[in-house]
């Protein structure tokens, strides 16, 4: 798996203007699958995808303790069904805008674990050259546009990506993840209205995990039925059990179908829960242990796993294989990240402006102190 991309391929659409002709891609299949075997296989994929996220992040916790990863790290553990379920409905040409809690989104979208972990190590082979860290994963080639650490800050950008699709008359969808806390920000309101007004192909995927840091839903919102409120903007909106990946997938397909059919933005309230603290810095004093335990019984891995076992689809050896695959993938990512190089500090000023501009006109840093480290610092934890 090649993750050491030097430069991501530019968005294929870059050169197309407003009103370019409609892309002739087949509409994705949706609705119930009739083929039992395919369904079985699909559920295995979903479980494996969730398991990879889970094991990846569990390892992140250890690597954080070992100081291999630094900065803010927000874990998705408990919410895996949301990322995995929603992304099922997306095609490669669709775009995703995410939050600072985006390991799950990135992995589910196909950003290689190697590139994600190297990013968290601050290595140049990371998916953002090590400049973004955990909160700013980018992969333009996969149309994964970050990684935004300003709560709500990705929403307007997602609307703009969707506007571009609309102006170009494609059937592509833009999916924006954001939290229940973000719903209170002005940027949510403005974006929801704009998207509905302009009938933009935007999926508003609200991850309602019932807390914004330490603030419970009832202290964030007077009216906590977020889907109902979203529908007041004039768009279809409904709530989904965010711990059931199949329910999430089904809802996402329905929403994405509606969007591709030209019915404008759709809002999904994905009811979920984070099992871990808000971030590595959070002592998690504000939640009842019993509450956490109650939600743990609805662990998305258990929910799907139990169903599959009941259907006779999942056997112990299979699950052990899955665990082994996940562990290997994480281990591969880790050794990749360990061995990857640090970006030369001489590159600090690169990409403040696009390279061709700088070549022509110089950068802003004429009088800047020069970066002080040597070039090509060898690998290993900085």
């Amino acid at each position: 798996m090649s993750t050491a991309r030097k430069k991501s391929p530019k968005n294929e659409a870059t050169r197309r203007g407003v009103g370019s002709s409609r892309t002739a891609r087949p509409r994705p299949r949706s609705g119930a699958r009739n083929d039992g075997e395919a369904e079985d296989k699909h559920r295995h994929e979903l479980l494996a995808a969730m398991l990879l996220i889970r094991r990846f992040e569990e390892r992140c916790v250890e690597l954080y303790s070992a100081s291999a990863i630094r900065g803010f790290v927000h874990l998705y553990i408990g919410e895996e069904a949301v990322a995995v379920g929603v992304t099922q409905a997306l095609e490669p040409a669709d775009a995703v805008v995410s939050t600072y809690r985006e390991h799950g989104h990135a992995l589910a979208r196909g950003v290689p674990a190697e590139a994600v972990l190297a990013e968290m190590y601050g290595k140049v082979s990371g998916c953002s050259r090590g400049r973004g860290g955990s909160m700013h994963l980018f992969d333009a080639g996969r149309r994964f546009y970050g990684g935004n650490a300003i709560v709500g800050g990705g929403l307007p950008v997602a609307a703009g990506l969707a506007l571009a699709e609309k102006l170009r008359d494609t059937t592509n969808v833009v999916c924006c993840f954001f939290g229940d806390g973000a719903f209170a920000e002005g940027e949510f309101h403005e974006t929801a209205n704009l998207a509905a007004l302009w009938n933009l192909p935007l999926l508003l995927a609200c991850e309602n995990n019932r807390y914004a840091m330490g603030t419970p839903l009832t202290a964030e919102h007077a009216q906590t039925d977020l889907a109902m409120r979203a529908s007041s903007y004039g768009m279809p909106a409904w709530a989904v059990d965010g711990m059931d990946v199949l329910a999430v997938e089904q809802a996402a397909r329905r929403a994405v179908d509606g969007i591709r059919a030209g019915h404008g933005p759709h809002f999904l309230e994905l009811r979920t829960y984070r099992f871990r603290a808000h971030s590595m810095y959070d002592p998690d004093r504000y939640r009842d242990k019993a509450e956490i335990e109650r939600w743990r019984t609805r662990d998305p891995l258990t929910v799907l796993g139990t169903l599959m076992r009941t259907l006779g689809e999942l056997h112990d050896e299979e699950y052990a294989d899955m665990e082994r695959d996940a562990a290997e993938a994480v281990a591969r990512a880790e050794s990749f990240a360990e061995e990857a190089l640090l970006e030369p500090t001489a590159d600090l000023l690169r990409f403040v402006h696009s390279e061709d501009q700088v070549a022509r006109h110089g950068d802003d840093n004429g009088h800047q102190q020069q970066a002080e480290h040597g070039d090509d610092v060898p690998g290993g934890v900085a």
């Binding site: 571009a164 102006l167 974006t191």
Partner: protein, 315 residues
């Protein structure tokens, strides 16, 4: 604007009342009829969302011109400009470029009072990753658009409110693309450099006239680009005149004028014969009453006095 829309089908215009209303200053009159509501796009009052939407559309490869009516309202979208437009390219390791053009008016002088009279170009000029332009003439205002659109990175264009009152013949032939990267010497002189931009250029030119009557020869520099600053042109002038007055409608403390003064100190210290003078706005919210507003803003008189002071006359 019309030419840009015709030349490149990726270009579109978006902002409050750019359509049927024709833009708050009538700048986009007639465009809606010609290019239709998809490309001449009226927005709701949602500055953060539509600036952010411009950023998203730019990421996707379009070339949005986003009009924020005035700099005063742009504060509501500043998070989008700083944390997304200016930052995404670097933060993504070079993957995500944002070719957006943001236009807004700036400045005081029309008795619009405290909330509608800000000059915050200096704040924008502080932000790495964006280019900041400030045309001081109608010709520059027109000619800067094409190169701004050609820039693969965000460009913010500030037009001073008083520009719209200047009538000038734009129909004549002219070089199409302004060199948006360098300052212009608007008047040559030997004794003192008046360094300014945007809405203060006419005042500086008037001051140079009055100084000439006093037999002080003033050179007038129009910065045009506020980020990056054209240090070469500035320093060449300073080395020639050895005396400097910076004129800037922003409040004095933390003004762009401070940056220019600091750079001159760094790069031409030994050529300076006197301290760099700054003529800025008084540090007050700009009042409505005309005489109070005038007292708060840089005036030709202030500039003349500062220039005389720095060359050691009446000082």
């Amino acid at each position: 604007m019309r030419e840009a829309l015709t030349a490149d089908d990726r270009v579109f215009l978006m902002g409050e009342d750019v359509g049927k209303y024709g833009g708050a200053f009538g700048v986009s009159l007639g465009l809606l009829e010609e290019f239709g509501p998809e490309r001449i796009r009226d927005t709701p009052l949602s500055e953060a969302a539509f600036v952010g939407a411009g950023i998203g559309a730019a990421i996707a490869g379009l070339r949005p011109i986003v009009e924020v009516m005035t700099v005063n309202f742009s504060l509501l979208a500043l998070d989008q400009v700083l944390n997304n437009a200016a930052t995404l390219l670097h933060m993504s390791g070079g993957q995500v470029s944002v070719p957006i053009v943001l236009r807004m008016t700036t400045g005081a002088g029309r008795q619009l009072a405290a909330q509608h009279s800000h000059s915050l170009e200096g704040w924008y000029a502080h932000i790495p990753g964006i280019r900041v332009l400030a045309p001081a003439t109608p010709a520059d205002a027109r000619d800067m658009l094409a190169p701004a659109l050609a820039d693969p990175d965000p460009v913010v264009i500030f037009e001073h409110g008083s520009l719209y009152n200047t009538s000038s013949d734009l129909s004549a032939t002219h070089h199409r693309r302004a060199d948006i990267f360098s300052a212009a010497v608007r008047r040559q002189g030997d004794d003192v450099s008046l360094i300014t931009y945007g809405g203060s250029l006419p005042k500086a030119l008037a001051a140079a006239d009055r100084l000439a009557a006093d037999r002080v020869s003033a050179e007038v520099i129009d910065l045009r680009s506020l980020r990056p600053l054209d240090d070469a042109t500035i320093m060449a002038s300073v080395r020639h005149t050895n005396h400097v007055v910076v004129v800037d409608e922003g409040w004095r403390t933390g003004s762009l004028a401070a940056e220019i003064s600091a750079r001159i100190c760094e790069q031409a210290f030994y050529e300076l014969d006197a301290p760099v003078e700054r003529v800025c706005s008084a540090e007050v919210p700009i009042p409505y009453a005309r005489h109070m507003e005038e007292a708060a803003l840089p005036s030709t008189g202030n500039i003349v006095r500062a220039a005389l002071r720095t060359v050691g006359r009446n000082g």
